[in-house]
């Protein structure tokens, strides 16, 4: 028997659990979608796996490995359903997580609320000890005091302890010693140390991340144990890998130590899928755009790769307000998220002008057209009234849409605005497109990227219907609609390499670097990373090691990330680091600050296995290709023009050689692609639809 050839991805979302099985030898794919089970998602996973194996006639032994991503961690934080967590902090600094950054995220809101720390003040303890910024010990760890605190904690229902000492990222000795004492005194309690969870400077985000890790650890532990055991009981002996927010996967053991790195793993899969389809069609600059029921998410590549950020937030007080969440300092694919989806509700703002979202009708009651009790006008209702959606083929016909209900929902808004119903619906469609385009435009501008050069990969239930509109507002001329957009995240998991990264803050001017010390640190990071990646089954020869250095001019507050080749560092490398920094800095800021010394701040080592070879993946629906429209319907593409009779196609009936000029509608069960006038569409590699503006090159 040949080596097992099936890769299995399992993505647990808030509503659905998606599964994708890919045979890397034949490229054949099988998918399964079922409702996520609550409150424990693990039974749903096991049911889905069994269903998929049965339908695709696969044996458990054919599975090479399983990749799993879950919203469980994110939800635990949002719903604040983690365990009672205590913090051990350097004496005098237990309030760092409550003092925060001293700012307000909304200047005009006098009734502002800030996110409460996950460890309440009475469970945050002062531990006498002190390490200085350069790593020297200023005050020895008071072990007796620490033991007294542990004795006190025994009387509390504390299940997790976070340790965050000042400057522990430069010298972890005290955190390690404290960890040992806590392990001994409080057996069974999960312990997270800041130098391991989030080894970077800035005590507020580091402590916040460490507490969050501790807070979810027992929950993640129990959950992962159940999934692992369940898979084994289904006869799957293949290794289970866990999807990380950084776009890599890792072992269950490593994810149990760092469950906070699982936050937002689903969207990471979506972004990876976008990059995969872009590459397949020869596009390096990709805007992965996913629009679902309540939110739209987007990720951009830079020089062909997704941008990884180490500053993010979770569990926002105001979901779409930057700064209102708990800060996290873990590697994460950088995402834009805005409150725009099919369920977003149209209303009048304080100036009496129309606005869309961020309030959403969600999936219950859902848009008015669902006929499930929703009465407010939503984006989906607008799309229906404009002719973009087929009332009899929404979700493949599973959800019949009620045009009358959609009209009724729009009646009041259109009367208040003194505009015809269809004009109002068109306005709502255009407004939500403009909101999404604006978010992407500003995000690109903040990073100095020219968004017009990008290719959009549109996914999500509502993405393909809005793709031309959003792309138009961005000046984008190419759109890829990948097949099976409904399970994009799960498919993306399969493109992720096994990878883990470690960071150490070691701040030094380049001309004062202690190379001995530095090489020692890097070797340590590499060793830790290799251990995890090898444990996930990657052969030593297949491992690649990458180094990124965060550098800045002395005195600056932000660093520029500079990729650097991993090597034993010697004197000659210092000039090279300076050159690489200057090249990167010039690309970012346009000019250099000559004469100002440069310093390195963070050293990040990424250890990864090879990228899985999934380029031959084909989604074969097994239907006869006719390439002919299944019908025609009037569709509105401009505010002041009559609807246009537009041909409607079924995606599964299109052959690899199909193409057509817009306008056109291409329906499939998971979504509807709208090809606007001025655009044309064709079937491209891998079963993708490629939409191009007619004046676009190539």
């Amino acid at each position: 028997m040949s080596a097992p050839s099936i890769l299995l991805a399992v993505d647990i979302g808030g509503t659905f659990t998606d599964l994708v099985a890919l045979d890397i030898d034949s490229g054949r794919i099988a998918v399964e979608k079922l409702l996520t089970s609550y409150p424990d998602p693990s039974p749903g996973v096991l049911e889905g796996v069994r269903g998929l194996l049965d339908r695709a006639e696969l044996a458990p032994a054919e599975i090479r490995y399983v990749v799993h991503g879950t919203t469980l961690i994110t939800n635990t934080l949002i719903e604040r359903k983690g365990v009672v967590t205590a913090l051990l902090a350097t004496a005098g600094f237990r309030d760092a997580v409550e003092i925060g950054n001293e700012g307000r995220y909304d200047m005009y809101d006098l009734a502002l609320r800030k996110p409460a720390p996950l460890a309440e003040r009475r469970l945050r303890f002062d531990v006498p000890e002190r390490t200085l910024a350069d790593g020297r010990i200023h005050l020895a760890l008071d072990q007796d005091c620490l033991r007294r605190i542990c004795a006190k904690l025994r009387a509390e229902p504390v299940e997790a302890v976070a340790i965050c000492f000042l400057h522990a990222y430069t010298n972890p000795a005290h955190e390690l010693a404290a960890r040992e004492i806590v392990n001994e005194a409080l057996p069974g309690v999960a312990v997270s140390a800041s130098h391991q969870v989030a080894p970077g400077m800035r005590e507020y985000p580091r402590a916040s991340t460490t507490i969050a890790n501790a807070y979810v650890q027992p929950v993640a532990d129990r959950y992962l144990e159940r999934v692992e055991a369940g898979l084994q009981s289904s006869g799957i002996a293949a290794p289970l890998n866990i999807m990380l927010s950084s776009g890599g996967t890792t072992t269950v053991a490593a994810s149990r130590d760092f469950p906070i790195r699982l936050v937002e793993s689903g969207p990471a899969g979506g972004a990876l899928a976008g990059v995969h389809w872009g590459r397949l069609l020869g596009q390096a600059d990709v805007l992965a755009f996913d629009m679902g029921g309540t939110t739209a998410k987007a990720a951009l590549t830079r020089a062909g790769e997704l941008v990884i950020s180490h500053q993010s937030e979770v569990a926002h007080v105001h979901r779409f307000k930057r700064g209102s969440g708990l800060p996290l300092m873990v590697p994460m694919i950088e995402m834009i998220e805005i409150g725009a989806g099919g369920g977003s509700i149209a209303h009048l703002n304080a100036l009496g002008l129309p606005a869309v979202g961020p309030e959403s009708a969600g999936s219950a009651p859902g848009p008015a057209a669902y006929g499930a009790g929703g009465t407010q006008p939503t984006v989906t209702d607008a799309d229906l009234l404009l002719g973009y959606l087929n009332p009899d083929y929404f979700a493949g016909g599973d959800i019949p849409l009620d045009c009358g209900a959609a009209q009724a929902a729009f009646a009041e808004l259109s009367a208040t605005l003194e505009l015809p119903l269809e004009r109002t619906a068109w306005g709502v469609h255009q407004l939500v497109n403009e909101n999404m385009a604006a978010a992407a435009r500003v995000h690109a501008a903040e990073r100095g990227l020219e968004i017009r050069r990008y290719c959009m990969v549109a996914t999500g239930g509502a993405g393909p219907a809005h793709a031309c509109g959003v792309a138009g507002g961005l000046g984008i001329r190419r759109i890829i609609i990948p097949p099976m957009a409904g399970v994009a995240s799960a498919f993306g998991f399969l493109t992720a390499p096994i990878a883990f990264d470690f960071t150490r803050s070691y701040v030094s001017r380049l001309d004062e670097l202690d190379l001995g010390e530095l090489n020692h640190i890097l070797a340590e990071l590499e060793r830790d990373g290799r251990r995890i990646v090898e444990a996930a089954g990657v052969a030593t020869a297949d491992i690649s090691v990458r180094l990124n250095i965060d550098m800045r001019y002395v005195g600056q507050g932000y660093e520029v990330r500079v990729p650097f080749k991993m090597d034993e560092l010697g004197e000659r490398h210092i000039a090279e680091m300076r050159r690489e920094f200057e090249a990167e800095y010039r690309a970012f800021y346009g000019q250099l600050a000559d004469g100002v010394p440069i310093e390195a701040v963070n050293w990040r080592i990424l250890i990864s296995g090879p990228e899985p070879q999934v380029a031959n993946a084909v989604f074969d629906e097994g239907q006869a290709a006719t390439d002919r429209p299944v019908g025609c319907r009037p569709v509105r593409f401009a505010p002041d023009q009559a609807p246009v009779e537009t041909p409607v196609f079924r995606r599964e009936q299109l052959s690899a050689s199909w193409s057509a000029a817009g306008p056109g509608i291409i329906e499939e069960a998971a979504s509807t692609t709208v090809v606007a006038p001025g655009w044309s569409a064709r079937v491209a590699a891998g079963g993708c639809l490629l939409l191009t503006r007619e004046d676009a090159q190539g």
């Binding site: 005009y108 000042l166 800035r202 304080a350 407004l431 903040e446």
Partner: protein, 565 residues
Amino acid sequence: MIDPITLEVIWSRLISVVDEQAAALIHSSFTTVVREAGDLSAGVFDREGNMIAQSVTGTPGHINTMAHCVRNFVVPNYPIDSLDPGDTLITNDPWEASGHLFDLTIVSPVFYRGRGVAWFASTCHAVDIGGATMGGDARSLYEEGLAIPLMKLFKGGQANQQLFDIIRANVRVPDQVIGDIYAQEVGNQVGARKLIEMLEEYELADIEAVSAQILDRTEAAVRDAIRGLPDGIYHNTISIDGFDEPLTIACEIAVQGDTLRVDYAGSSPQVDRGINVVLNYTHAYTTYTLMAALVPGIPNNEGAFRPIEVRAPAGSILNCTRPAPVSARHLIGHFVSQPLLTALSEVVPEQVIANGSAGLWNTMMDGMDANGREFAYVFFSAGGMGAAHDRDGLSATAFPSGITGVPVEAIETAAPLLMHRRELRVDSGGPGQNRGGLGQVMELEIITGAPANHSCMYDRTGNPAQGLLGGGHGAAGEVRLSDGSQPHPKSHYVLRPGQRVMLKLPGGGGYGAPFERDPQRVLHDVRQGYITVDAAERDYGVVIQAEPTTIDKEATARLRRESRK
């Protein structure tokens, strides 16, 4: 007449255009004060100089002063039709722009099809502007640095080289200052390009009609809110520490129909230290405070300013006259929010908050580090905010300023300082039915083995934040050395090795009578260590017994009953 949907679509685009302008500026800026603290503003203006939209970054002191500067200073002196494509103007006039020489306001006209259609402007805090000192020590404007009258920075795309040379010759870090000037110009040009793309896409000749409607709608919404207030005169007066002696800020709000007038008559006269405030800056923090209290969901543009008039007597601390020193004008300017909110509490008690720490605590240390290199380090810290009708005040949070603080680890990495503690200051929140936010306590030491200079800019050491509607005042601020001595809170002294300085930042005022506070919330505060057992009994009439920490219900009832007699 543009229909409301098209109007909203175009307006959303305008907001995204100014956000792109700000992003380009921040992106190309060299200085941390712009990049990390977001100390800048960016906006788009119509032909006549009316501010239509502003970026989401920025502080009120920059945004609203910039709006005034473009409309009332730039346009009257350089009407758009008198300019050519590629022209850009600059000024840092404190009286016409943002109140001190550090802020450079740079304004560029936009031409489309041969006609001036709009302006883009930004205001950024320069790292240095020359002059003798940083802080409030100057005795006149002339000591505070280089003044740049309104003039062309670029003419037809060509740099005004003489002006650049003058700036270069006058500032301590010319590369950074000039780099940021170019960044501002880059931002304006990006804004202009994106605006023209928008005009082409929507087939518009200009933005006059859009501007008129946006401003009119905004104005109408603000007038509606004012009309909702009963006609009348509302006033309040507060005392603040001042430089050497206390100052008074008196405000009177007159509401009549749909107009509102604020008059600061009765406020202290200007002083010969750099803490004087120009009227433009007073106006900025006044309109900001009123909008946050009365119409928080309404966009901030010229239309919002129309129904509001702001006056202060010439020669007063809030409307100083040339050549008064103004460098640290924010120290006083931030306080106008305080009497305004208290005066409004008479009519909209649920929309305001009690007084808080208000002024940022600005700490500067300089000296020689262990390697003999000069160091200078500045950081800002915030005390507590006042409580509201339905919630406690925020602890250690800046208001009305929009800045963010700096982590201890960043401070200790950049400067030879050792922070011994930085924690919430117990019992500093003003007691009330809702408690004021807590201040914080910091303890600092210099670790170079050599003395260092510590410049203090601390307020509310003598005048704590008052409570509202029966709430008690927050704790006053305090500066104390380990030998027990107390340095002047607005001057500088030498911090010796081995000596520690303790900064106790002020707390916010309480809201409502403290004896009305739910005893369970008092118990919660004791358990979490926000207040002590003694304070619970003394300030709230709640008797707490220890082990386990619970409320002594009988004793509490007795104490609270007696207090009503």
